[in-house]
């Protein structure tokens, strides 16, 4: 009886082995026969229609809306969190309508050449003013070209004083 059972397991193993191998071959065979499943991007040719993914970390940007307003209140959280010190914030104090002095962003300087794209600044931003941009073609011959001022000229802040 035990011998019969062993012979049974022997052939059952062969059968199961072949079935599982065929399953694997079906997967690769299906990929081979469907050219639509190719995920490779032919990069320099498809520059025009290339769409990066939503969570792609190309560079840090300060979000501006259609009225050229950003929501940075110059709290300096991002600069403090940055492990490389690649963010410098210059702010000033102006008199608000209600008579209280208010902190206003002058320049939000971002050193792309020092950035490691860790994302701590975007996480730290309480106003949700920072985000990652999709642009990734940053190769330049001069390092100073990578130092960027993120707030656009003439932009104002819509951030509420905390």
């Amino acid at each position: 009886m035990a011998l019969l059972r062993e012979i049974g397991t022997y052939f059952r193993e062969i059968y199961l082995g072949i079935v599982s191998l065929l399953k694997g071959m079906r997967v690769t065979g299906k990929y081979f026969l469907t050219p639509g499943s190719v995920v490779t991007q032919q990069y320099p040719e498809n520059r025009a229609e290339l769409k990066m993914f939503d969570n792609f970390k190309g560079e840090v940007i300060l979000k501006h809306d259609e009225n050229n307003q950003h929501s940075c209140n110059a709290c300096n959280n991002c600069a403090r969190k940055c492990p490389n010190g690649s963010i410098e914030i210059v702010s000033t104090r102006v008199q608000g309508e209600d008579g209280r002095s208010k902190r206003v962003l002058v320049t939000h300087t971002y050193h792309l050449e020092m950035c490691t794209f860790c994302g701590l600044c975007v996480q730290a931003c309480e106003q949700n003013a920072l985000a990652f941009g999709q642009d990734f073609e940053h190769a330049v011959f001069d390092k100073s070209k990578l130092t960027k001022v993120l707030n656009k000229p003439g932009s104002t802040s819509k951030a509420k004083e905390e």
Binding site: I14, L21, G24, M25, V27, T28, G29, Y31, F32, P35, S37, V38, V39, T40, Q42
Partner: protein
């Protein structure tokens, strides 16, 4: 195109008429040698290209597509790169054996190419023990691999070479027994006669289920014998940094690389010859019109089409299955393939004795 033997005969008679007998022999040998070498290198390069393209498609990639149209010249460029690279001299290696090993590997596979029937009459060497000759010569390659591993004076190389030795020696049995099944059917070891015996149907179909089992066993064991696919323990990049060819560079590495692909071609063409009717066209019994259309396709196209199909199957294995462990490899051979093969051979002998095959 139909029959290459008349072409070969006219070439030989022209040679005999033009030169003295000695020089006719020399010239024909040189021509044959150059022909086989050119065929070998071009086919090897394009097998590498095909492998890269097929593996890319199976992994949802595109593969080489920059050098030439569809990347057709990628492997040619790779070869030029390998030719220009430095042959690094290993100080502690055994210089003679180290240098001779890649040549043993490549000569073994070139010699096997000579006996393969590509078309009617298109066969350099039609021995009466053709199957045995190809098996014997193609297993010479493992000696080259063993020597390469030993002479490199590197622990990874030695491990790779010893694995390769264990693997080829055990799987040689299965390859031999699977081919013995067809030899039993055909009653001959001469490749041209084995093809002639398939005039009324390929052995894969004529031999019922036992021939199918023999074909599957042959495919598995043949893949193992080329040190490829799920059985590439001899090189095992992730554990042995390349195995027996770790220390080789430049054109010597290219020899190992090319020989691997040509061994795959030899195994596939042997499968074509033994199981799939060689250069014979595909016929369906009773369909006269269909058979005439099939006859119109030249035999050399049939041969390369069938071989390409078997090569594709082997590439499919390689890019689907994970690598086996050494104990799993030997278990597969000694506990599964060999007993199945022996019983299969017994069954086939019985079938042949009773003349139950078609």
């Amino acid at each position: 195109m139909r029959d290459s033997s008349s072409l070969i005969a006219s070439l030989t008679s022209w040679l005999d008429g033009t030169f003295s007998p000695l020089w006719a022999g020399v010239v024909s040998m040189v021509l044959l040698g150059i022909g086989i070498l050119v065929f070998y290198s071009v086919l090897g390069l394009y097998l590498v290209y095909a492998e890269r393209k097929i593996c890319a498609r199976m992994q949802n990639r595109i593969g080489p597509n920059r050098v030439g149209p569809m990347g057709l010249f990628q492997t040619v460029a790779d070869l030029i790169k390998l030719l220009l690279k430095e042959l690094i001299y290993i100080r502690k290696a055994d210089a003679l054996l180290f240098n001779i090993a890649p040549f043993i590997v490549i000569v073994a596979s070139i010699m096997a190419i000579g006996a393969i029937p590509f078309g009617k009459g298109l066969q350099a060497l039609d021995l009466n023990i053709g199957v045995m000759y190809i098996l014997a010569i193609s297993s010479m390659g493992v000696i080259g691999i063993l020597i390469a591993g030993w002479a490199s004076n590197n622990k990874y190389s030695v491990i790779g070479a010893i694995r390769s030795g264990a693997q080829v020696i055990s799987y040689e049995l299965s390859v031999g027994l699977a081919l013995l099944c067809i030899i039993t059917f055909a009653g001959s070891m001469q490749l041209s006669e084995i093809i002639a015996s398939q005039q009324d149907g390929w052995w894969l179909f004529k031999g019922h289920i036992p021939a199918l089992i023999a074909f599957v066993v042959y495919l598995i064991a043949g893949t193992a014998e080329t040190n490829r696919g799920p059985f590439d323990l001899a090189e095992a990049e992730s554990e042995l940094t390349g195995g027996f060819h770790t220390e080789y560079s430049g054109i010597k590495f290219a020899f190992f690389f090319l020989a691997e692909y040509m061994n795959m071609f030899i195994i596939a063409s042997l499968a074509t010859t033994m199981f799939l009717g060689g250069w014979l066209p595909f016929h369906l019994f009773g369909w006269e019109g269909f058979n005439n259309v099939m006859d119109f396709i030249p035999p050399i196209v049939w041969f390369f089409g069938k071989t390409a199909f078997v090569v594709y199957l082997m590439m499919w294995f390689k890019w689907t299955f994970p690598r086996l462990r050494i104990d799993q490899l030997l278990t597969l051979e000694w506990k599964y393939l060999l007993p199945i093969n022996l019983i299969n051979l017994l069954l086939i002998s019985f079938l042949t004795l009773m003349k139950w095959h078609f």
